[in-house]
Symmetry: C2
């Protein structure tokens, strides 16, 4: 990759990566959105996603610490302000927990990440490590999967609401809030990447960051699929619906 | 140190550390505040402090990334919001730069940290590394020098204004803003440390963090003193008033 791309071609390239590797193609996501999972499988998804969810403001604080320009930091900090909210019970995590509450999970256990798959932790921790250690450009570029999340999240929401009687509209409050912001966030990140990735080398890094982030999301669904769908082998210590006393 | 201190005794111990090691005791600070430095020496101070200044929001974003509780993050993020301000030209760094502008330094060079003493960078970078790698308790505790800064900063401001005709009130705008917030910030950090340092081991870590932070501030003044006061030996590459074309 020696050629320098125009900003528009760089964007097209980033979109190509997602078209091939974003998690909307993953079988677990397809089953989830199509209403073809059982309650235990949806619960496993929600439980594991809590770890990702809880780390998002941490990730964004790390990205913030990588941005040298106060103007860039002002844009990025909106994420943290919105994720953590203004007062007790108003954070994105609080909204997220309505879903795990609604699925009957114990909140204290959920917040201690009890039973979360090791592969979930490893993938999310790798994401934190990536934004901590790579260049600021790569840290920002790794958020660009957000360019695609609005569509995929809306589809998943309507699929889940239509299919699962154990999921109520109000327990999906997290996604309503998120959908309201995600395109604005993605637009800023895309503009940042187009401005800063202006050599063949930095453009390759930005594209690799997008690929990396797709891997982070994809591998979490692989682990869920393996443990709870096929061949259904939850690893030792992971949440196991057959061992739950209901 | 096997004994567990009461919260009040822990606070007393932290204050003891500062009483012996905070930079209000440093000869460079005393000369600066007493109006006994020349314009070049004050300029060297302002130039070097810019590096510290620019890294403060970065440091606070790192601390933010270490806090697991959204409520703690809501408190800590106020620092970043206030430091970076709401719009172009309204950041703490912008206010700080009025001082370096007023001293006739080239803004582009200042913002590139050109001529900053290596020891300044090493000390500030050690601080960033500390909050990045130590426990969240230590990261927060290292900010507790703020318990003392209001008094020392006010004294320095009035001393500087009274003594230096090359320093104008409006160029010290940064400190006005900072003084308005620093006690609130310090109170939060102190409450956090009292709540979280409840074993002999964690109390020792908190006290060591305070000592470390005093060292970070002190060593920056050592380097300034050595390079610009006595024996006046600026290291190669550092800002040198004798080489400046005025």
């Amino acid at each position: 990759m020696a050629r320098i791309l125009s900003p528009a071609d760089l964007e097209a390239e980033l979109r190509q990566v997602a078209a091939r590797r974003y998690y909307h193609l993953h079988p677990f996501h397809r089953l989830l959105s199509a209403g073809r999972l059982d309650r235990a499988q949806v619960t496993a998804w929600a439980l594991n996603r809590t770890y990702y969810q809880a780390m998002i403001p941490v990730k964004d604080a790390l990205v913030l610490s990588r941005l040298a320009d106060p103007a860039d930091r002002r844009s990025w900090r909106r994420r943290i302000v919105e994720q953590d909210g203004e007062g007790e019970g108003e954070s994105g995590l609080d909204r997220w927990l309505r879903l795990t509450d609604g699925l009957g999970l114990d909140r204290a256990k959920v917040l201690a990440f009890e039973g979360v798959l090791p592969a979930t932790r490893f993938a999310v921790d790798a994401y934190l490590q990536f934004v901590r250690e790579r260049t600021p450009l790569e840290a920002v570029a790794s958020s660009l999967t957000e360019l695609f999340s609005a569509t995929v999240v809306s589809e998943r929401m309507s699929g889940m609401l239509a299919s699962y009687d154990f999921i109520a509209r109000r327990t999906l409050a997290y996604f309503d809030e998120r959908l309201a912001r995600v395109n604005r966030d993605a637009d800023f990140a895309l503009a940042y990447v187009k401005t800063h990735a202006v050599t063949a080398e930095t453009q390759a890094l930005a594209i690799a960051a997008m690929r990396f982030k797709c891997d982070v999301l994809w591998s979490q669904l692989d682990a869920l699929h393996f443990a709870y769908v096929d061949p259904k082998l939850p690893p030792p210590g992971a949440w196991n619906p057959d061992e739950e006393t209901r």
